[in-house]
């Protein structure tokens, strides 16, 4: 009896195996078909007598994960525009970006900070001249729910006060400033590893060795933080500049007590007056040869189209305009 049942089952199993093999075969066939179709699509019209060497070349980028979304989106857009070229984007970190450019492993590095002295020395000893090309600005804005402050009762804080709030040292709003409501502060943060969180903590937490309070609500993206702060009374959070909305109050920040409090505006960020802001860079060894692919890609990121991508990813476009490519 038992053996009979087994026979039936094993037959069933065999049939299932065959069917799945068949499906795999079909899928593979479909793909081979698709590959051949794709190949025939790569014929692009030759443009006039211009130097076309760059049109078939390729470059590699590596470095900061903060710049990664911009580089990724720009690389995709650029490749769609120019069918012959290849741009490869790897991750890493700012340190990897610099060291790879110094070692000549990649054509373009991505960095969200200026090089450290050790990196400049390393570059000099290898005869490498690091060129930084700003491509975007990153400003992190501290926002609160309107129940805490609004345009008639604005809130301004120093970086250390912000740090104390996010570290949980201040538990109630009236501990921060007398006159604020005696309500528990709801802290909203991004997930560890987020570039926005990295920038924010670099300015408000790291200088005083604070750690984010365990009571903080962790949100996975800028829109999620925006939504949470908009809907949660007595909450405070931080978001990229382009995500600010009318339903929240933006906090003016001062570097330290006694310094002027600055609201994040396009102007104050570009001038570097707003304290939590930094440039995003593409890094090259020396000035890229005019007309080379690296040069054109940098131009593209700085063009109107590239800067739109920058803004779509929650960064700030550059304050000055570059000619479109």
């Amino acid at each position: 009896m038992v053996r009979k049942a087994n026979k039936g089952l094993s037959k069933l199993v065999a049939i299932a195996g065959m069917v799945s093999l068949l499906i795999i075969g079909l899928v593979v066939g479909y793909y081979i078909n698709a590959i051949t179709q794709q190949k025939s699509n790569t014929n692009y019209p030759q443009e006039f007598g211009e130097d076309i060497a760059w049109r078939t070349s390729s470059i590699t980028l590596s470095g900061s994960t903060t710049v990664l979304p911009i580089a990724n989106a720009c690389a995709v857009a650029f490749m769609n525009k120019h069918p012959g070229i290849t741009i490869t984007v790897q991750g890493g970190g700012s340190g990897v970006g610099y060291s790879n450019v110094i070692d000549g492993v990649v054509d373009l590095g991505m960095a969200s900070r200026e090089p450290k002295t050790s990196e400049i020395d390393g570059a000099k000893s290898k005869g490498v001249d690091l060129w930084l090309h700003p491509i975007a600005l990153d400003a992190v804005c501290v926002v609160v729910h309107p129940s805490v402050a609004n345009s008639s009762y604005p809130l301004s804080l120093t970086l250390q006060e912000v740090g104390k709030i996010f570290a949980g040292i201040y538990k109630y709003w009236d501990e921060v400033k007398p006159g604020l409501p005696h309500k528990e502060i709801v802290v909203v943060v991004r997930e560890p590893g987020s570039g926005t969180r990295g920038t924010f903590e670099e300015y408000t937490m790291h200088p005083w060795k604070y750690n984010v309070t365990a009571r903080a609500s962790v949100q996975p993206s800028n829109p999620a933080v925006k939504n949470k702060v908009e809907t949660t009374p007595y909450s405070i959070g931080y978001i990229g500049f382009s995500f600010i909305s009318e339903k929240m109050h933006v906090v003016a920040l001062a570097k330290e007590a006694g310094k002027p409090h600055v609201y994040p505006t396009v102007n104050s960020i570009a001038k570097g007056e707003y304290p939590i802001s930094r440039y995003m860079y593409l890094v090259t060894n020396g000035q890229p040869k005019s007309g080379s692919l690296a040069d054109r890609f940098i131009d593209f990121v700085r063009s109107k189209e590239g800067q739109q991508i920058v803004e779509a990813n929650g960064f700030l476009k550059l304050p000055y305009v570059y000619p479109t490519s």
Partner: protein, 303 residues
Amino acid sequence: MSHNKCASPNFLKSFDKPVEKLMFLCALSSIVFLFLMLLFITREGMQALFTFGADFIIGPVWETNSNLYGALPLIYGSLMVVAVALAVAVPIGVATAMFVEEVLPFSIRDLVKSLIELLASIPSIIYGFIGVLFLAPQIASLFGLSSGTVALTASLVLAIMTIPTIVSVSGETIAAVPKEYKEAALALGATKWQTLKNVVVPTAKSGILASVMLGFGRAIGETVAVLMVAGNVAVIPTPPWNILSPVYTLTAAIAMQMGEAAVGTLEYSALFGLGLILFIITLVVNSLADIIAKKGIKGEKGL
């Protein structure tokens, strides 16, 4: 072996030799690569080990910003997550193995075993994905936490990932218990449950223990899923048994920071140092499992 050298014409034998050598080299490859792994991970990790000495293992501060690398919080994080995971996975895994091998009718046994094996083949990134998307919010609302990415979540995900290992290895040893033992017990009037409790489990004891060791090895080496749900804070929780606080594990630190670390820096070397710690832990655990399993087989023969 009895059938090792057999008579065959000499002119054919000449062709045997090079192939035999090639096969021998292939067989050696696993030793060679294991040795190379140890060699290269040690070589790259030397700088950190020399810089920090014993502090590399017992130092309580792991801070990239200030170039301080003490792996204690990471080792503690790894061990804590795995301990809780095993506390969940071992009872469930062993009970499942007993149920599948001893209770389930033969006809559906393979089906259930296959499904459990499929559970093992789900990629860890998928476990992490589901953990972040569904388990973490559940844990957060259940315990009133602001964020669900804590040690407990990581432990639960790990438990699910470890159960198949425990089921398959301990199931194998339970299945290997000689039929005569069970029949003898049943003939003496023992019930099925008594047979299971007094004959099967004691005989398969060492195999079950080995399965737990293997589960430990699998859990402590798990990377991506843990990284996504453990919260990644390099601090020993207060109090130390607080499983509702975020932890950073050895594997998560390597995966998260390796991309950021420029080759040749102290951070790069420290990450290989973590690799070395992990290598030694897994080597010891796996070898112990091997020894326990082999001892079990020998003990059985002597019975």
